[in-house]
């Protein structure tokens, strides 16, 4: 979607945003994009909002006001709670202070990092960006910034950890954090009182890197986000570039992309079912899922040449045509997988211990799910119809028959069951398409140097764990001016504190398992 901004004045911004949520039902904050619009315009933010009833999307642009050396924007933290980590991310990369945000710390970078790297005037020289050889300083304090009556910026300090708090660090190196997530958890005996996520242990600065790359080169990075949703990530980036360039794809490309996306979803869900079992110590169920995932990967590898890093979509189509045996292999795979899903349920999903461990754990009701922007299966477990494939169909999702799976349990068990049922839906989609792949081009030839016309676009796809969207600001060059990716896991992690207060340590692991976040995706 090409972005047409609404702009509010700085002083009425908060009221107008509240009005949008309350009066016009824009209660899902998709993402906040910080951007350095250049030396004339300065720093600002773009907010993308969705009306959860009509699924209409709008974007709001708000420029930051400069006070001395600081840039400020009123926070929307109390309007959409999902803004918590998103605003911290903008603060981290652009140095925009959000007025009234109660926890204005850096999110991805170290506390002692100097400068704001995504500003265009940031010094990228290697001398200025030495790898630090000291430990990261830890602080028990956080800041809130506000404007006083005189229009000056004042800081209020908040204490995160009291002197008597028993703080356990889950991660960054921990078997169940699916990567290098660090959860500073305040516990009282076995009961959790607070969870503070620390991110950035695998932050690679992809958005900054992309600003220096040509468009085809940017694609090489997306597979390295959530490596279980490589196709989805690349689909979103390819989608936004193709939309901006106005590339018309052949039917064959649409068919193959839809099938590949669904195969990838099955792959992701199989790994989810496995790791969910493993986090609850059912290693056997984990290996059954991994065994069957191997078959999915084998089928994909014959065509794409990759297992995790698929490298299959490119601007204007696909890297290569499907393998000659692809159709028969996929059919055999579908036939093989259907009975196997029942086996996962028999050995793990229906087990009374699993039910005891997951039911009522990590509870998040519908209103909170939307407020915290829990997209994907986690939100659908609360009955929120948030599937991008239904709400903003791309490729063939509006032409095939499939059901959006939602639940009412709002807990981890429902999330698990949604993954199971979505696998059946994915198999349905694949089976409808696999026999009808039309003849045609698998790649629409593009110019050797790809340039995208000026403008801002947003394109999102349904990844394995939620909505994955890409914002592209092009100034007509061969590299993007600004790319922002909405990771699937960021809002999920932001909701941990809400979900886990008052639950047990073991529930932290169970909730993490059922919510399906992957750290390279949310760190980028």
């Amino acid at each position: 979607m090409k972005l047409e901004y609404t702009v509010f004045s700085f002083d009425t911004f908060k009221e107008e945003m509240t009005k949008l949520r309350d009066a016009k039902h824009f209660d899902y904050l998709v993402t906040i994009i910080g951007e350095d619009f250049g030396s004339e315009e300065g720093l600002g933010c773009i907010y993308i909002l969705e009306n959860t009833e009509t699924h209409e999307r709008i974007s709001v642009k708000q420029m930051a006001r400069q006070i001395g050396n600081d840039y400020v924007i009123p926070s929307v933290y109390y309007i959409w709670r999902a803004a918590d980590l998103m605003e911290r991310e903008v603060f981290d990369f652009f140095g925009i202070k959000f007025l009234g945000h109660p926890d204005m710390r850096r999110l991805f970078l170290r506390n002692d990092f100097v400068g704001y790297p995504l500003r265009k005037d940031y010094d990228m020289s290697p001398e200025h960006n030495q790898f630090p050889m000291t430990d990261e300083p830890e602080t028990d304090w956080t800041s809130e910034w506000n404007l006083n009556d005189l229009g000056e910026l004042v800081e209020t300090k908040h204490r995160l950890f009291g002197p008597d708090d028993y703080v356990v660090n889950f991660g960054p190196n921990h078997p169940s954090t699916h990567g290098v997530l660090r959860l500073q958890t305040v516990v009282n005996d076995e009961t959790i009182e607070h969870v503070y996520p620390h991110l950035g242990y695998i932050h690679r600065g992809m958005e900054k890197m992309m600003e220096a790359m040509t468009y085809p080169q940017t694609l090489a990075l997306t597979d390295r986000l959530n490596y279980l949703c490589a196709m989805h990530h690349r689909h979103a980036l390819v989608g936004v570039i193709e939309e901006a360039m106005g590339v018309e794809l052949s039917d064959r490309i649409h068919y193959i992309r839809t099938i590949m996306d669904e195969l990838q979803r099955i792959d992701n869900h199989l790994l989810f079912l496995g790791t969910c079992a493993q986090d609850l110590s059912a290693l056997t169920a984990f290996l059954y899922c991994m065994r069957d995932r191997e078959h999915v990967l084998n089928v994909m590898e014959e065509t794409t040449g990759g297992r995790l890093i698929q490298n299959y979509y490119r601007i204007g189509g696909l890297q290569a045509d499907i393998d000659p045996h692809f159709v028969e292999n996929v059919k055999a795979l579908c036939k093989y997988l259907r009975p196997m899903i029942q086996e996962y349920l028999d050995v793990f999903g229906d087990n009374v211990i699993t039910h005891q461990r997951l039911e009522g754990v990590g509870y998040m009701n519908l209103a909170d799910s939307i407020n915290y922007a829990l997209t994907g299966p986690a939100g659908r477990a609360a009955g929120w119809h948030n599937d991008v494939r239904k709400n903003h169909p791309y490729d063939l999702y509006d032409k095939v028959e499939w059901k959006e799976i939602t639940g009412t349990g709002c807990d981890s068990m429902t999330r698990y069951m949604i993954h199971i049922n979505e696998m059946y839906q994915s198999l349905n989609i694949i089976e409808q398409l696999i026999d009808n792949i039309p003849e045609g081009e698998f790649y629409i030839k593009q110019k050797p140097i790809i340039k995208v016309p000026e403008g801002q676009w947003w394109f999102s796809v349904e990844g394995g764990a939620g909505e994955f969207g890409v914002y592209l600001d092009s100034r007509g060059d061969k590299s993007p001016y600004r790319v922002k990716m909405r990771p699937m896991g960021l809002t999920l992690t932001g909701a941990f504190d809400k979900m886990l207060r008052g639950e047990k340590i073991a529930d932290l692991i169970a909730t993490g398992a059922s919510i399906d976040f992957v750290i390279p995706d949310l760190d980028r």
Partner: protein
């Protein structure tokens, strides 16, 4: 009328060899026997640990569609030996600001408890190492030393995971000792003795194993014992103290080399000891399968008791591994709920039922 089984007189023969043939005095004979038996116990302990670890690897692999270790030695048989060697040459480190004394003692306490209970196992008729008239009672007493070891290890490590794990371990082990003890008491009611050799002796003869003799209450007691024993041995689905996906490795997170090795050994041997006690008390220990047909029984009686004992024990071990590799782990409150809400009342019922059966002569016996 006491029936004598094959090889049961071996210890006596050895004793008379020392005293009569070699003409040693009482002191020297007893000394040599003690040293020899001690060595045998430790050797058996180590050998069984290696066998059990190898068995666990292969069995768990087979449950998980894998084939397990294959590289070291034919069919991977030397893998565990390689691991032991690796563990022996590992650096032993100490943790800053830990309680050094407790930190060092803890693994020994755990292994002492494990070897102590191990020594109670009746290998064959007359092959008991420790055989007191309050055997069962002493057995449960010694086994609970292990809890202190776990608790001390967790506490002394100066690691938050370890402390949480130690608390979990302590609360879990103390709870499950309850139903473990109650199940053993029901067996004592049936056999009328606490001496381990006496309990096994009472199970010789056709259909005299306690689970046949005591039928319904005994079978229930056996099942409860297996569950509680699994929890006592800190094995999944009750491995909360270790809980590798929550607390990395729990109370032994901060141990390396043989310190860790001792915990590891003790875990596997506790599995064996629990299965061994279950075998002794409910499955007839070394008593052979007798079905009341003379020809069959006499053939069975020719098989030495130790073969019967090990065979039955390994069947129970396999059963416990099967459970371990099928189920997910419980949560701490659920584990306590299971004990106090289900197993405890059940074992109390079992005792009442057993008392009724015994006092009204409702037990299943053939030759009275």
């Amino acid at each position: 009328m006491e029936k004598v089984y094959i090889l049961s007189s071996l210890p006596q023969m050895f004793d008379s060899l020392l005293r009569d043939t070699c003409g040693l005095s009482n002191f020297w004979a007893v000394l040599i026997e003690c040293v020899l038996v001690g060595l045998l116990v430790l050797a058996a302990y180590a050998t069984l640990a290696i066998i059990l670890i190898f068995m666990e690897r292969k069995v768990c692999a087979y449950f998980q569609c894998r084939i397990g270790p294959m590289r070291v030695g034919p069919w991977g048989t030397l893998q565990v030996i390689a691991d032991v060697l690796k563990m022996l040459i590992k650096e032993i480190f100490f943790v800053d600001r830990s309680d050094k004394l407790l930190y060092c003692i803890a693994p020994f306490l755990v292994i002492i408890a494990s070897v102590g209970t191990f020594s109670f196992l009746p290998w064959s008729q007359g092959w008991n190492v420790l055989d007191f008239n309050v055997g069962i009672f002493l057995l449960t007493a010694i086994s609970s030393i292990g809890v202190i070891g776990i608790f001390m290890a967790g506490w002394a490590s100066n690691n938050k995971y370890s402390v949480v794990s130690a608390m979990r371990g302590a609360v879990q082990l103390i709870s499950y000792e309850m139903s473990l003890g109650l199940c053993l008491i029901s067996a004592v009611i049936l056999t009328g003795t606490m001496q381990i050799s006496g309990i096994v002796e009472a199970q010789t003869g056709p259909w005299q194993w306690l689970i046949f003799q005591g039928h319904i209450p005994a079978i229930l007691a056996f099942l409860v014992f297996c569950i509680a024993g699994n929890a006592e041995a800190n094995r999944g689905p009750f491995d909360l103290a270790e809980a590798e996906s929550e607390l990395t490795a729990g109370y032994h997170t901060e141990y390396s080399g043989m310190g860790f090795g001792f915990f590891y050994l003790a875990e596997y041997l506790n599995l064996f000891v629990v299965s061994g006690i279950a075998t002794t008390v409910f499955l007839g220990g070394w008593a052979p399968v007798n079905i009341g047909i003379a020809a069959f029984d006499s053939v069975m009686d020719y098989i030495p008791g130790i073969v019967w004992f090990l065979g039955k024990t390994f069947v129970v071990v396999f059963l416990l591994m099967w459970i371990r590799w099928t189920f997910p782990r419980l949560r701490i409150d659920q584990i306590l709920k299971l004990e106090w809400k289900y197993l405890m009342p059940l074992s109390l019922c079992i005792i009442v039922l057993m008392v009724i059966c015994v006092s009204f002569g409702l037990t299943f016996t053939i030759n009275g």
